[in-house]
Symmetry: C2
Subunit: 405 residues, 2 copies
């Protein structure tokens, strides 16, 4: 399953995480060559079980590609005992429960470090394990609200709106990946494992850098700016309507503006005193935006983009979700690739945004719940057929519903 030459080849990860942040971190670990043992509750991770709408099962498949599945009943003594044996065999443990849950299960870091001091214990939570918000409920929407992303998004004078991207979940997931690889590096040098944590709120905080630095340096509140430049210091810088959608355009330099003026068939505007120089254009932003919109309105978004690109004006079509889902560039790079899934049939799988010159993405799809359990336990703990049956009879794995397979 793992490539021998892959960067994290030989690293075994116990993954207790669920939904987005944790599973995305371990997907990235899998794609860098680690072996991921996804430890699920007896009925399966709840994203796997959301059968009513088709999206969640597909998301589960995409996020858990290349992972092995083991159902464990962590509320049974047998489940906990087996988990502790696995901890001895593992390099990394990942979880994204609310702080305190692992301690209540009796498998917090203070316990596990006695069992395996080389273990890297990595956790992600909404606000971290310390500070007044530590136990606040944290989901992508609430952390976006608390971290200022909602307030900073939308048009001035209108209601705030969340980012349509799950920025908190996934930025925490990426940080969790980096936390683990950093701790693994340190372990190579020192022999020590350790606990490392990621906060979702801190993961998104720097993303408001333009607005934050403007506030810090002026002391003034910062209003949302729609599609304008966060510092309102570039023009044009916006999203413009076309015949069939929108196109994003920005002219940081005067040469961009001059090139755009030529495209618009009005080369004289490039040198006109009203528009030459970014300060002049910023002062007449609305007028500038109207001029640009007049031109984009005569084209499709792809036509506008092709012309802007040829003229070296920074721009991009506003692609819809369906367009992004089948983006030819992502396919050409091998980032999106076809995969066969045991239940869903042919699906589109995604790679890692981190590409090593000499490493391949895993070809294997997400495992059905508990499907690899016997092989896995034989491999990691030398559990034989007989012992496996005993563990099952004692309730270590709980009961797997047929529907969850």
């Amino acid at each position: 399953m793992t490539t021998t030459d892959a960067p994290l080849s030989g690293v075994t990860v116990l993954d207790l995480s669920h939904v987005y942040a944790g599973p995305y971190a371990t997907l990235m670990l899998a794609q860098a060559g680690a072996r991921i043992v996804k430890i699920e509750p007896p009925a399966g991770e709840h994203l796997r079980r959301r059968g009513a709408v088709p999206g969640p099962r597909y998301a589960f498949a995409m996020l858990n590609s290349g992972k092995e599945s083991l159902a464990l009943d962590l509320k049974s003594a047998e489940g906990i005992a087996l988990f502790k044996r696995l901890v001895i065999a593992a390099d990394v443990l990942v979880e994204n429960f609310t702080p305190g849950v692992m301690d209540r299960l009796g498998i917090g870091w203070d316990t596990l470090k006695e069992i395996n001091p080389r273990l890297v214990y990595a956790q992600s939570s909404g606000y971290g394990t310390t500070g007044p918000y530590a136990t606040y409920p944290a989901m992508d929407l609430t952390v976006q609200a608390m971290a200022g992303v909602v307030s900073a998004t939308g048009y001035p004078g209108s209601d705030p709106v969340k980012s349509g991207a799950a920025v908190c979940d996934f930025s925490a997931g990426i940080n969790l990946y980096g936390a683990i690889t950093t701790a693994l590096f340190r372990r190579e040098r020192t022999g020590r494992g350790g606990r490392v944590e990621v906060s979702m709120m801190e993961s998104v905080f720097p993303m408001l850098m333009s607005s934050l630095s403007s506030h810090y340096s002026t002391g003034e509140e910062v209003e949302r700016v729609g599609n304008q430049h966060p510092g309102l210091s570039v023009a044009p810088y916006s999203v413009f309507a076309t015949k069939d959608g929108h196109v994003a355009i920005t002219c940081e330099g005067d040469h961009h503006w001059r090139a755009l003026a030529v495209l618009m068939g009005r080369p004289e505007l490039g040198e006109h005193e009203h528009y030459a120089g970014v300060k002049a254009r910023v002062a007449r932003r609305e007028e500038v935006d109207e001029l640009v919109a007049e031109w984009t309105g005569t084209l499709t978004k792809e036509e506008a983009f092709e012309r802007l690109r040829a003229a070296k004006v920074p721009s991009a079509p506003v692609r819809t979700v369906a367009e992004v889902a089948s983006d030819p560039h992502l396919a050409a790079r091998g980032y999106l690739y076809p995969q066969d899934h045991p239940e869903l049939g042919p699906i589109t799988a995604m790679g890692s945004p981190i590409t090593f010159e000499d490493s391949d993405a895993p070809a294997r799809s997400a495992s059905p719940l508990h499907a690899d359990a016997e092989d896995l336990l034989r491999d990691l703990l030398a559990v034989g057929v007989e012992e496996y049956e005993q563990l099952a009879a004692a309730g270590a794995f709980g009961t797997q519903p047929d529907t969850a397979r």
Copy 2:
């Protein structure tokens, strides 16, 4: 400057990157204990030089905390020669130029790996170094457009709007950090360095997971949903107006809804057949949202949040940028901390979202341009006073404007 026990203690990084993605990655490296040599053009990185508005200089200070500065003229033979000597002394090189720029400067990976095969060469770009979009212009706005974030953000039936957070720049930066730590881990085990790259577009792609998986499983286009749940399968799930701002509320479970009904002073709604069960509430979403808004409109956002929190209903106040900038939780955790800056005076510095149990953030502020150059070159390359003067006279450092200091 670096903590001996810090995870990346002893790692030396040459940082050629600029603005957000690269400098954020090396800020995180600095906070994990690496030594960062920020190599700037003779006049300084352009974010440092944007003097007209105060925000960019503050952003520069926040993003470059704890880094040493070296001005190098990479268009001079002396600058290139000195750079190559530094490469021998370094563990990591970071850059986020448009693909091809380093090759044109004569210091691409193919050249540098001959000089130092243990070097980790890490690069971030908008679309990666391969594929049809490789040389497309990439800034946060254009990548948000291309990756579907703009299309997925905003209210249904209204114009799309970008995320107010610079999600592309910073998610690429976090991935770049993880790329480097992964490559360093591999180098510990294999002795080999290597080239690793990050694509901004691929960094944000998974953030649309809910929308993408919905599209992949139905084949249908996915419309933006304002503040609603991306799959429209939870209600209430939105941002509601209060007396002084907004509050985000979500009721994934029936127990959340029952608790909310009690808070609203209408406990009978908790069990009412129109609202009991998430499917019933989803079917009457607008009606449910009106009921909730009626209640939130009587409170301030903090009052609403305190009551919801006490009743264990997932929620959060929609905090403004100014509120986030002085968030007491982030200060209590030591994520935001005071720092003295040579030009700006006392500033607010930020830590890393990755917290190791036993590691401290760097106390040092961003260096003035080229301020540490002599010490740095003595330390890394044993360059003495005389040789330093020769290098300066030969133009290796170019000319530093006084205003940039």
